[in-house]
C-alpha cells in the first residue's frame, strides 16, 4: 500500500528527512523576514545578502583569525546584525512613512551592491568550509545515511525558531513588539522607545539570516551568490505563510521543504517550481496567505 509509483517506503523516508533539512533553512530565513516585515513594514530584499555575509564572516574568521565554527555561530550573526543596524539607522529609517515599494527598491539595491562587492573580492567559485569535527560522520538509519551535521541543522533551526517564538509571544519585550506592530503611536505614548525597538528588531531579523548562513557554510558552497538563489524561494514561503506571520512562516518553511523533497523524487524537473505553483494557488484562494490576517 505504501509503495508509491515504484518508490519503496524507505527511500521515501529518506527524502522526507532531506525535505525537513531544507525546510529548516527556509524556516529560519523566512522567520527573520516575517519579523522585519511585521514591525518595520519593510520587505527586506537584503536578506539573501545578509545570509551570505553570515557564511562569509564565518569563513573569514576561520581563515584569518583561526576562529572555528562554534564561536562563529554567535559572532558572525552579531557582526552582520551590527552592519544591518547601521543600514537601518542610516537608510531604512527614512523610508518608513513611504510606500513598501521604496523599501523594497532600497534593500534590493543594497543586496546587489553587497553581492557585487563580495564577488569582486572573492570571485565566484566559492570558498571551502569544513564541517566541524564534532559534527562530522553520521548515522546509518537503515533507510539512509544521515550526516550528523544535517541532524544538527534541523535541531539548531528548531531551537532558533522556538526561541524566537517564545520571545515574541511570552515575554514583555515581545508584547511591546506586538503592540508596536499594531499601533506604534500609542505604544510610544506609553513611554516605550519604539525607534530603538525597531532598530533592534531589524538587527535580530538580520542576525537570524546570518545564523542560517553560518549553518549553511559547511554544506553549501560559500559564495557571493549563495543567497540570491535562496531568497526568492524564501519570499515565496513568506507569502504562502502570510506576510508578517511568525508562526506561519516557520510552519510553512518546514512544510514546503517537505513538499519540495517529495517533488524531487516524483518529478525532479519541477522541484524548483513547485513552491511557486503552491504560492500561486494560495494567493488565489487566500490572498493574505495561510496564516495571515486580511487587512
Amino acid at each position: 500500500m505504501f509503495e508509491l509509483i515504484g518508490i519503496p517506503p524507505q527511500a521515501l523516508f529518506g527524502q522526507l528527512l532531506l525535505g525537513l533539512i531544507n525546510g529548516a533553512f527556509y524556516a529560519v530565513l523566512s522567520l527573520g523576514l516575517a519579523l522585519i516585515f511585521g514591525l518595520l513594514n519593510i520587505i527586506n530584499f537584503t536578506h539573501g545578502a545578509q545570509y551570505m555575509m553570515g557564511a562569509f564572516v564565518a569563513w573569514l574568521m576561520l581563515r584569518y583569525a583561526g576562529i572555528g565554527y562554534w564561536p562563529s555561530l554567535i559572532v558572525a550573526p552579531v557582526v552582520v546584525a551590527v552592519v544591518g543596524i547601521v543600514i537601518e539607522r542610516l537608510l531604512l529609517r527614512r523610508l518608513y512613512h513611504l510606500d513598501h515599494l521604496y523599501g523594497l527598491l532600497l534593500t534590493f539595491g543594497l543586496a546587489l551592491i553587497i553581492e557585487g562587492t563580495f564577488r569582486q573580492i572573492y570571485g565566484i567559485s566559492g570558498q571551502p568550509y569544513a564541517i566541524p569535527k564534532e559534527l562530522s560522520g553520521g548515522y546509518d538509519l537503515g533507510f539512509m545515511f544521515l550526516p550528523t551535521y544535517r541532524a544538527w541543522v534541523v535541531l539548531a533551526s528548531l531551537a532558533a525558531c522556538l526561541g524566537t517564538w517564545l520571545l515574541i509571544e511570552k515575554t514583555r519585550l515581545g508584547a511591546y513588539l506586538r503592540a508596536g506592530t499594531e499601533n506604534a503611536t500609542l505604544v510610544r505614548a506609553f513611554g516605550v522607545n519604539v525607534p530603538v525597538m525597531v532598530t533592534l528588531t531589524y538587527g535580530f531579523g538580520v542576525a537570524l539570516a546570518a545564523f542560517a548562513g553560518v549553518l549553511a557554510a559547511p554544506i553549501y558552497s560559500v559564495n557571493p551568490l549563495m543567497g540570491s538563489n535562496l531568497i526568492i524561494v524564501v519570499f515565496a514561503v513568506v507569502v504562502i505563510g502570510g506576510m508578517g506571520s511568525i508562526l506561519g512562516s516557520v510552519i510553512t518553511g518546514y512544510a514546503l521543504g517537505l513538499i519540495e523533497g517529495l517533488t524531487k523524487v516524483f518529478y525532479p524537473e519541477a522541484s524548483s517550481t513547485v513552491i511557486f505553483i503552491i504560492m500561486a494557488i494560495v494567493l488565489l484562494i487566500k490572498p493574505a496567505g495561510l496564516f495571515g490576517r486580511a487587512t
Binding site: G14, I124, P128, I219, E269
Partner: protein, 416 residues
C-alpha cells in the same frame, strides 16, 4: 588541407571584393576577450583569460606586420543577447578583428553566427558544445581547448575500463547537461558499460542530497555529474557528506576545472577522475608559463581554458604574420595549415571543421597527504592521444567539410 584552404581562398576572393586587400585593416589588430567576468564562469576563464591574451600579445612583441596589437575585454554575463550586442559594437565601431574565449555554449553559438557573417575571427577556448565544429562550424572560427565529447569520452571510457561499468547520471536540466549526458552515455556503452538511470536536476540547484540518494539507491558503480560550475561543486561536496564516495561509488566529474578543485579542497575531491586539456604542473614548459601567469593573478594557477587562450592568440598572431593580412578567413585558413607546438600542445593541428586536435589528459585528484601544497592537485593517469580524444570529423556533420568534400570529389574524412 591544402585543397580545402584553396577552395576557401577562392570563395573568399570571389565574395569579399575590395575588403580583400592585403595587410592590416584599420592599422591595428584588435583582440576582444568576451567572457563571463562576474558569474559562475568568472574564475575558470574571466579576468584570467584576459591576462593570458595580454601575455600572448606581449610575448609576441606587441606588434604584427608593423601594426600595434590591442586587447579589449567585456563581460557577456552568460547571456546571448548581451554577448551579441557587445560583439556587434566591437566589430562595427571598434575595429575588433578577433573575438576570443567566449564561455557558455549559447553565447558562443550566437557569436559564431555574427563572426561568420561579418568575417571576424572567433577563437573559442571555453565553450563546451561540439556544435561549434559540427553543424554550426564556420570558416572564421576555431574551437581550441576542449569540448563535451572530449571530456565525456575520456572520462567515460577510462572509468569503464577500470571496472566502473554501471552508470547513473545527475544531469543539469538544460541543453548543455543533456548533451553532456548523451555524449558520456555513448562513450560508456561503446566501452561495454551500462547506464542504469538518470535524474534531471533543475538548474541552478543548491541541494543535491535528494538526487544523490537516488543515485545511491541505483547501486551504479559510477555517478556521472553532467553539470558544471556551482552545481558540480555542490554535488561533490554533498556526495562526500552523505557517505556516498566512502561507500565505494565513484564520482565522475564530466566538466570540472582546476578552479573548482581549488574551491572544493582536496579533502572533498580526492579520488575524483576527470579529463583536462592542460595541467600546469605537467612539465617544465607548462610550469614556466603558468608561474608567469600566476604572478599576475595573485598566485592562482591557470585552468586549461586560460592556458588555451594564450596558445590560440599566439597561434593567431603567428598566422597573421605568415598570411600577411588580418582578414579572418585567410588567417583562420592559415591557422589550419600551421602545426601548433608550444607549452600547451605538441604537434597539434586545427582540422578543417575548426576543431583543434591535441592530447588530453585523464587525471585523478590527489589526496590531502599526497599534495605538496596549494595547486598541487592532479596525478596524470593517462595521456589520451588527440585523434582518440576528439569526435571524428565525419561524425560532426560540419557543412564546410561536406562542401569541400563534394567539390574535391573526396570522402569527407579524407582531408586532414
Amino acid at each position: 588541407m591544402r585543397l580545402a584552404s584553396g577552395v576557401l581562398g577562392a570563395v573568399f576572393l570571389l565574395s569579399a571584393g575590395p575588403a580583400a586587400a592585403q595587410g592590416i585593416s584599420n592599422d591595428v589588430v584588435k583582440l576582444g576577450v568576451l567572457n563571463d567576468q562576474s558569474g559562475v564562469y568568472a574564475d575558470l576563464a574571466g579576468q584570467g583569460s584576459v591576462v593570458a591574451a595580454q601575455m600572448a600579445v606581449e610575448d609576441f612583441g606587441g606588434t604584427v606586420l608593423g601594426k600595434t596589437i590591442q586587447v579589449v575585454s567585456a563581460d557577456h554575463q552568460n547571456k546571448p543577447d548581451v554577448g551579441s550586442s557587445v560583439a556587434n559594437q566591437w566589430i562595427d565601431t571598434e575595429q575588433v578583428d578577433a573575438i576570443v574565449d567566449v564561455p557558455t555554449s549559447s553565447v558562443a553559438l550566437a557569436i559564431q553566427e555574427i563572426t561568420r557573417r561579418k568575417n571576424v575571427a572567433h577563437l573559442n577556448s571555453t565553450a563546451a558544445t561540439t556544435d561549434l565544429t559540427g553543424k554550426a562550424c564556420s570558416p572564421t572560427a576555431v574551437h581550441y581547448t576542449y569540448d563535451t565529447y572530449a571530456l565525456a569520452n575520456g572520462t567515460g571510457r577510462a572509468l569503464v575500463q577500470q571496472g566502473g561499468d554501471t552508470w547513473f547520471f545527475i544531469t543539469a536540466d538544460y541543453a548543455f547537461g543533456h548533451n553532456l549526458e548523451q555524449n558520456t552515455a555513448e562513450a560508456v556503452k561503446k566501452a561495454g558499460g551500462k547506464v542504469v538511470g538518470a535524474v534531471r536536476a533543475p538548474f541552478p540547484n543548491n541541494d543535491f542530497s535528494s538526487f544523490l540518494l537516488q543515485a545511491q539507491a541505483s547501486q551504479a558503480k559510477v555517478i556521472g555529474l553532467a553539470n558544471a560550475g556551482g552545481d558540480t561543486i555542490n554535488s561533490i561536496k554533498q556526495a562526500r557528506e552523505f557517505g556516498i564516495t566512502q561507500a565505494g561509488q565513484r564520482l565522475a566529474g564530466l566538466l570540472v576545472f582546476l578552479s573548482d578543485i581549488h574551491s572544493l579542497g582536496l579533502e572533498t575531491t580526492q579520488g575524483l577522475t576527470l579529463t583536462t586539456g592542460f595541467y600546469w604542473d605537467k612539465d617544465d614548459e607548462t610550469r614556466e608559463w603558468s608561474k608567469r601567469w600566476a604572478e599576475r593573478m595573485n598566485g592562482r594557477m591557470p585552468t586549461m581554458v586560460q592556458a588555451g587562450v594564450y596558445s590560440v592568440v599566439m597561434h593567431y598572431l603567428n598566422a597573421i604574420k605568415a598570411a600577411g593580412t588580418d582578414d579572418a578567413k585567410t588567417v583562420v585558413a592559415k591557422m589550419k595549415e600551421m602545426p601548433i607546438n608550444d607549452f600547451f600542445a605538441k604537434n597539434a593541428r586545427i582540422r578543417q571543421d575548426g576543431r583543434m586536435v591535441h592530447d588530453m589528459y585523464l587525471v585523478q585528484v590527489k589526496g590531502p597527504q599526497e599534495s605538496k601544497g596549494a595547486w598541487d592537485y592532479y596525478n596524470i593517469l593517462r595521456t589520451i592521444p588527440g585523434d582518440e580524444a576528439f569526435m571524428p570529423m565525419e561524425a560532426g556533420n560540419c557543412p564546410l567539410v561536406q562542401e569541400a568534400a563534394t567539390k574535391n570529389g573526396q570522402p569527407a574524412g579524407g582531408a586532414r
